[in-house]
Symmetry: C2
Subunit: 359 residues, 2 copies
């Protein structure tokens, strides 16, 4: 079967320019060629992450850094804000690291409520909060600024934010919001192949790490900080992906961040319009909908797996049939990465071509 | 400055065929396209690893799995066999994971002695041993079979082996030797870009992991085993590197493993001959020399950094000027990956061209 164009919520299609950059000659990672690559990436990544701090490069998927955040930053007890597959799992992972964890659980499709975060933190005993900004499984974008404000009311509680599927597509004011640990993968809105994560640690986060025992080596944030001083990484980095990242960061800056945000918003709006005009509903409530993907509520009870399969077979586009326990009750359309209104319209036309067989 | 051809001990040059494979269309990692890729890689990797067990794919450098081995397999106390930068560091990493660790330390450039391993294990209290088969920093290849035999004399002591820079270049009889955890990176003799590691866990290793607390998620060996059953990985994998790996495994099988071992041995012998004929010495003793790189003892006290620099500037070849505390006292010439007698002779001719300025 030919490989379809991807409209799943990551990974997404890779541009020829990115592939070309990834095929630059291999370089050694302990020497000036790598230091040059590393430092070339920094200023642009800092702009995208809205930070003046270093942006560390982890050779892992985002889960590695999500676990790393637990191992580095939690000493007493973490509060996991749970509203979908990935945020729920963070609660599980925290316990697997041997840490005390509690959670606020809202129903999938619902955003987190800042007030409930305040009341829970007021009970005391917590030293960290985890939040998934854009819960990819449900298409919910949580009220990051409001939750950040609440967490910042509590001294000594660090805010850990997963922006895996929002990074570079919507502004995330890392420094201004007082986010202590921001992390993202690169295979979502950044449109790189997976295998690499980026993260920013506040001074408070690094100070906390210093006194956290058993944080290991591979995800030790202090090792990242120490090696950053030498324009390097603690372990052998994923050099080809960094060469691709370097090119992608340059291309994002060339596009301009406001334009990039705008393009994602426009592409997203096209999908929203399609959802509404075709009589579907949104799985996420208004005001809390992701700008990079749309989780469509299957209110028309179409046969989602067959729909996904037919779209692929007839048009060679791959969409996603829902994640985990809401598989089939939802399907997901991504607009992240390099897509344009034109390419989104091609997808929507393909869906229109196939949909009549199913409703 | 143009990027040099790499004769450093990893990463090494990537072939056009590998780059081409890495640029295949991106695929989703939760679906049949990825399952097909995953299962396509397995039989060949199993042959290379001399195992009938699954070969797990970790999106990390080898250090991730080296730390994972500690977190999954050590409950009582680990014995780290230390003979160079990487094996020494494993002792440090074990302690950073909060585990009890002791070490046998031999001088850099010396191999481990199986008898000393036996006496130390006989003291009791250990449940795991770490061994770096081919210590890349010193060019020493340790007597794997002999040490494995010793460790196997002790029930309940697991043998963890790093074959990062020997994997696919020399035979490693994983199953036959009773290795409980074999791990390797792919950027050494496999000649892929870095960012991916492979590992094999014995039944005893998986059984041990089951009762080891706080092993986390990202490197939880049981998660790898569970997902392997679905031809998948616990976290989003480095898909482009796996596409490259698939092509490389096919190319290794096409070359034939005995031919590949032979080619590495021949290339290595050419370098050894050069070392001896030019009046240099080996840093590693006879019988314990790596087959993938040569650590040259700088007995002629040449200015190594200037030598390395001149070789690059005049011939665009990059060699390595020694690792860590033996920088300058040694320099290292790699023959791993896709090199041929012809390409090795080009390197040696370049060294000959430059050497007279330095001796």
């Amino acid at each position: 079967m030919p490989k379809p164009k991807l409209f799943i919520p990551g990974p997404v299609d890779i541009s020829p320019a990115t592939y070309e950059a990834m095929c630059a000659p291999m370089i050694g990672h302990r020497g000036p060629d790598f230091e040059e690559l590393y430092s070339s990436i920094q200023p642009g990544l800092q702009q995208i992450a809205c930070t003046t701090r270093p942006v560390f490069l982890s050779t892992s998927s985002a889960w590695g850094v999500m676990e790393g955040a637990i191992r580095n930053l939690v000493q007493q007890k973490v509060l996991n804000l749970c509203c979908g597959a990935f945020s729920d799992k963070w609660f599980d992972v925290a316990q697997r690291c041997g840490k005390k964890a509690e959670k606020i659980q809202v129903e999938w499709g619902t955003p987190l409520d800042p007030d409930s975060v305040r009341s829970r933190l007021a009970e005391g005993g917590f030293d960290a909060v985890t939040l998934v900004h854009n819960e990819t499984s449900t298409g919910v974008m949580n009220p990051l600024a409001e939750i950040a404000d609440v967490v910042n009311e509590f001294d000594d509680v660090l805010l850990i934010v997963d922006s895996v599927s929002s990074f570079s597509a919507v502004p995330i004011a890392t420094d201004q919001l007082g986010i202590d640990l921001l992390l993202a993968g690169v295979q979502k809105a950044m449109a790189l192949p997976p295998g690499l994560s980026v993260f920013v640690a506040s001074e408070a986060a690094l100070a906390r790490a210093e006194s956290t025992p058993d944080r290991g080596y591979y995800f030790d944030f202090l090792e990242f900080a120490r090696n950053h001083g030498k324009n390097n990484t603690p372990s052998t980095p994923s050099i080809s992906l960094l060469q691709g990242l370097d090119a992608m960061v340059a291309s994002i800056l060339k596009e301009g961040l406001p334009n990039r945000y705008q393009r994602h918003a426009e592409n997203n709006a096209l999908v929203h319009q399609w959802v509404e005009e075709r009589g579907f509903a949104h799985f996420a409530p208004e005001g809390y909908r992701s700008r990079t993907l749309t989780a469509v509520a299957n209110n028309q009870e179409i046969d989602v797996p067959a729909f996904v399969k037919t779209v692929r077979e007839k048009h060679n586009f791959l969409i996603n049939g829902g994640y985990g326990k809401i598989k089939g009750r939802t399907f997901r359309l991504s607009n992240m990465g390099n897509e344009t209104p034109e390419s989104m319209k091609e997808l929507l036309a393909a869906l229109d071509d196939v949909l009549p067989e199913f409703v």
